[in-house]
């Protein structure tokens, strides 16, 4: 920004084991989303490194990281991030198609069934409620069998009851698939369901 550098994250060293579930909590503006972006390989760090499954993300260019994300990473976002022009089924099929999987439709259908939307595969995101949209997003995230799943405030846009259902579903699927989970939230009760909790405060990480 106009000559002066802004330090958002400071001296963070963090190791997450395979299969572990970790919550990162912190107030608005504490750098949660920035950290998530770096961990997931959506962004490049100005200094330091991120290694997932022995792959140094910093050594990859954006295309390399994209391929890596496609193979190893899944996402669940606060604002769902479904493509409005695609049906629920097509949204779930998308990462599988990008990987060139031949049974994309079958697999996508299976996961939609699993999140309880087997009857609504042909609906467009606008025709679905917020909770239903997030369930499609969950199906999409798990359909590509990622080794690590990043969730960014997955209940942020949902009411309490719906949010709870989504979280139950998220942890269930996580258990079934044996996925590593990194969850960013400011909701302590949600964070409590993870094996480990980390708090970001002014860009620094504090173990709780």
């Amino acid at each position: 920004m106009a000559g002066s550098e802004l330090e958002i994250l400071k001296g963070i060293t963090l190791e997450i084991k395979s299969g572990e579930s970790v919550a990162i909590i912190g107030a608005s503006g504490s750098g949660k989303s920035t950290l998530l972006g770096l961990l997931a390989g959506l962004d490049e760090a100005t200094a330091g490194s991120v290694t997932i499954n022995d792959t140094d993300l910093g050594a990859l260019d954006e295309d390399g990281r994209a391929l890596f994300r496609g193979q190893h990473v899944g996402f669940v976002f606060q604002s769902f991030q479904l493509l409005p022009a695609l049906t629920a089924l097509e949204n779930v099929m998308l990462p599988l198609e990008l990987q060139g999987q031949s049974k994309a439709q079958e697999q996508a259908g299976h996961f939609l069934q699993r999140v309880g939307l087997g009857a609504r595969t042909g609906h467009y995101p606008l025709q679905l409620s917020g909770g239903e949209q997030q369930r499609v997003a969950l199906a999409r995230a798990f359909a590509s069998k990622p080794s690590i799943l990043f969730a960014d405030e997955p209940t942020g846009n949902l009411d309490k009851t719906t949010g709870d259902h989504i979280i139950d579903l998220l942890f269930e699927l996580n258990r079934e698939e044996g996925t590593t989970l990194v969850l960013v939230t400011h909701d302590h009760s949600l964070a409590d369901r993870c094996q480990r909790r980390l708090r970001l405060d002014g860009g620094a990480l504090v173990q709780e």
């Binding site: 295309d63 994209a66 991030q81 493509l83 990008l98 994309a104």
Partner: protein, 824 residues
């Protein structure tokens, strides 16, 4: 890659995202190919129409008989041919009555284009005919009936042959303008010539071969013919036969090419706008796909092949639309078309297809290509700025492409340059002006009332985007104004040239003693005439003291020649002085004033000396001035004008021209009886033909203007649409916060209307510049400033853009804010 472009295209199509882009492309191809097809078919038709003035497609003339092999060759080539022979001869009715006449003998096939007309009594009702009189019969000029005292069914003698008078000859399609020195017409059959025995070696005659056929065969034939022409043989073109018509057609053609070129530019702008919007809306889309593992290569491949597929689809649909547009034109136009429009060929559709591909490549691809570089981080942070920094480079590329397209399309770099100059002025000056003015709004606006504050805040916040939009609006408005201006001055000029009461009859050979009685006779009938000009015949002998060559059978170039001239103390009306000075009234100096093209052909400049033989006297004169004439005015015009005192001693006859309505034609019967020595030349049919052509061309021009107006309107809509997303979103937030409908719509109205006003102002300035360049260099017309364009441009810009803006954003006040916010 199992996700294919077709699949993505189909999904996008269902999602409604592609609509705008496809519409823009289809319209671009449709309008460009439609206008181009219309123009080429119309040109085709008008060219055919103009061939009527030659009675053929190609004419070769000579004072000696033309080779018969040419006709054989034309038969082999599948062309039609006709022969004519024209010569002056005495015509007798009985022993004592005779008159000098201009005899024209024509073969059966004559005329190949257009029609002959005759009447069953002198000056009677006109009937059309495909062929001239059969052998043994003649048609006589109406006034010969009085001069020879004959009626239909009587006989007349030409040379040694006698003919039955079958009809009154009225008009020939190729009457042309070479009537000086000829008497009234006698029309006879070509095969009767030997019987008359009047054509001897050395007779003053003009042989003509007329050819007609398919334009390709005609072109081949002309190419074969031209190298074989010998001295005294020449090809006559439409330009020569009817300079007025050909001039009008040339300008009309320039106009239509201009219109087509503007359609190309408008299409490019529309596609660019639509693609920009498409790509902006797709940044989030791409971020999501990227977060799911798509590389930039995948994204580029996806969007690239989608675009290609889209382009193919749009081209096919667009060409169909273009075909429909031109077919509709000709359907609407059918009543006013005397000739069948020819085929347009594939070129217009090729132009449409190339336009589509160029638009895609230069306007649609750059913003889409940047989608591949879009950051996946947008999935977490939607407020990331869009990668739009290289837009200027894109526009430069687009401009270059459009320039090349326009140049290819119009094949006229001056025209292309004139349009470009206007566009560049709009873009450059406009962008700076818009930025400063829109920024200036901040100072004035802060204390203003609520609606104004909202509008001005909106204007400033999107300063750069708005300035760009103003420029785009201004470009579209400029092009429309430009076309409107050119069209108006063209049509005005044509109307001025041939007003309804334009002279349509000439009177020559008026003896000095007849001038007053004729003036009186005309006055009695309430007929107003042009002034009576004295006419003296002389021979031009030398330039700068050196004798000119004597080669009477060569028309062109420097040679001694018989010529008619006049005298005057004042510069004749409609004449324009190009060089030198007009003489003082009453001067006794030996001066002369020359017509521009004549002087050019003879290589004479102001100050040169020119020698003439008038009667038996030699006259050495100095060239005092060079004039430009308006040959289309149907007024007496002269190559050479002398001061009156110089010619006072020589015997002169007089000439004039006047307008005679078709209902008053019988006046001529009485007139030629009373003044038998005077020659009346009827030009009314020719004038009417010229007027018909000009009316048709005017109608075509108006029609094309309407289509381009519609295309320009679409660009304005696309321009407004491009900015609607952000505005609707903001307005929805304002509504959610409790702002009233009136405040929001009022704010939007002021915002758009202000942009429209600036755009209108810029457009007017740039249009004036472009039209100035166009009219002075391409159309060769006089430029006159048009004050009415200023209020029109500014008011139209304000009203149209304001209304379009509010209309496009109306949903924000009709739909619940939540719904609007959720969609975006």
């Amino acid at each position: 890659m199992s996700i294919t472009a077709t699949k993505m295209l189909a999904r996008d199509w269902r999602g409604g995202e592609l609509g705008v882009l496809v519409m823009a492309l289809v319209l671009a191809v449709g309008v460009v190919s439609g206008i181009s097809a219309f123009t080429s078919r119309l040109q085709n038709a008008l060219e055919q129409e103009s061939h009527r003035f030659l009675a053929a497609d190609v004419v070769v003339s000579s004072s000696r008989e033309l080779p018969a092999q040419w006709i054989e060759k034309s038969d082999v080539d599948g062309l039609q041919h006709a022969l004519t022979l024209q010569f002056p001869s005495m015509v007798y009715a009985g022993e004592d009555t005779m008159s000098l006449a201009s005899v024209k003998a024509v073969s059966e096939a004559y005329p190949l284009r257009g029609a002959l007309t005759y009447s069953t009594e002198p000056f009677g009702a006109v009937v059309s005919a495909d062929t001239g009189p059969p052998q043994g019969e003649v048609w006589l000029d109406s006034r010969l009936f009085a001069l020879l005292d004959v009626t239909i069914g009587d006989t007349v003698t030409v040379g040694e042959a006698t003919f039955v008078v079958a009809a009154a000859a009225r008009t020939e399609p190729d009457q042309g303008s070479s009537f000086y020195g000829y008497g009234p017409r006698v029309l006879m059959h070509y095969d009767d010539i030997p019987a008359t025995a009047v054509v001897q070696p050395g007779s003053r005659v003009e042989y003509r071969h007329l050819y007609a056929g398919a334009s390709a065969s005609i072109a081949d034939f002309t190419q074969w013919l031209e190298p074989q022409l010998q001295d005294g043989q020449r090809v006559i073109t439409v330009e020569e036969g009817q300079p007025g018509i050909s001039n009008a057609l040339d300008r009309a053609e320039s106009f239509l090419l201009l219109a087509g070129s503007l359609a190309v530019v408008l299409a490019g702008v529309a596609v660019a706008l639509a693609a920009r919007r498409f790509s902006e809306r797709h940044h989030n889309y791409v971020a999501i796909i990227k977060s799911l593992g798509a590389t930039s290569g995948t994204i580029n491949r996806l969007y690239g092949s989608s675009l290609l597929l889209l382009g193919l689809m749009a081209t096919v649909i667009g060409c169909l639309l273009g075909w429909g547009i031109q077919a509709l034109f000709f359907y609407l136009f059918a009543d006013q078309m005397p000739v069948q429009p020819g085929p347009s060929g594939v070129r217009p559709y090729a132009i449409g297809a190339v336009t589509s591909l160029t638009c895609l490549l230069c306007f649609a691809w750059p913003p889409l290509r940047r989608l591949g570089q879009s950051s996946p981080l947008r999935v977490l942070r939607r407020d990331l700025p869009l990668e739009g920094r290289r837009a200027i480079q894109d526009y430069a590329l687009g401009l270059l492409a459009i320039t090349l397209l326009m140049w290819w399309y119009s094949a006229d770099w001056k025209l292309t340059l004139a349009v470009l100059a206007g566009l560049a002025l709009t873009a450059g000056l406009g962008f700076c002006l818009a930025l400063t003015l829109l920024r200036g709004g901040r100072l004035v606006g802060m204390s203003a009332g609520s609606i104004w504050r909202l509008a001005l805040a909106g204007l400033q916040r999107r300063g750069t985007a708005n300035a760009l939009q103003v420029v785009i609006f201004a470009m579209a408005i400029m092009m429309l104004l430009m076309l409107l201006l050119v069209r108006t001055s063209l049509i005005d000029e044509w109307q001025a040239q041939l007003p309804d009461d334009a002279p349509n009859h000439f009177m020559i050979n008026i003896g000095p003693e007849d001038v007053q009685p004729i003036e009186q006779a005309l006055r009695l009938e309430n007929i107003t005439s042009e002034p009576f000009y004295p006419m003296i015949r002389g021979r031009m002998m030398s330039v700068q003291g050196a004798d000119l060559p004597i080669t009477d059978d060569v028309e062109e170039g420097r040679r001694q020649r018989e010529i008619n001239f006049t005298w005057s103390d004042t510069l004749p009306a409609d004449n324009k002085l190009l060089a030198g000075r007009w003489w003082e009234p009453g001067t006794e100096e030996a001066l002369v004033s020359l017509e521009e093209e004549f002087a050019g052909r003879m290589g004479i400049e102001v100050g040169d000396t020119v020698g003439f033989l008038v009667g038996s006297q030699v006259l050495e004169t100095r060239v005092a001035s060079i004039r430009q004439l308006d040959w289309q005015s149907m007024r007496p015009n002269f190559f050479l004008v002398f001061p009156p005192r110089l010619l006072a001693a020589y015997p002169a006859t007089f000439m004039t021209s006047f307008h005679l309505d078709v209902t008053e034609k019988s006046f001529l019967n009485r007139f030629v009886r009373n003044f038998p020595t005077v020659t009346v030349i009827e030009m009314d049919v020719v004038v009417e033909q010229i007027r018909t052509i000009i009316n048709q061309v005017s109608a075509a021009i108006n029609l094309v203007l309407i289509v381009i107006l519609a295309a320009g309107g679409l660009v304005l809509v696309a321009g407004v649409q491009a900015s609607v997303d952000a505005r609707v979103h903001e307005s929805a937030i304002l509504r959610a916060l409790g702002a009233q409908r009136r405040l929001i719509l009022g704010g939007l109205l002021i915002e758009f209307a202000t942009m429209g006003m600036f755009a209108g102002l810029l457009a007017t300035v740039a249009a004036e510049l472009s039209v100035f360049i166009l009219q002075t260099t391409v159309m060769e017309m006089d430029y006159t400033p048009t004050p009415w364009i200023w209020p029109l441009g500014i008011v139209a810009g304000t009203v149209i853009i304001g209304a379009l803006g509010v209309f496009s954003c109306r949903r924000v006040v009709s739909a619940p804010p939540v719904e609007v916010l959720r969609e975006l």
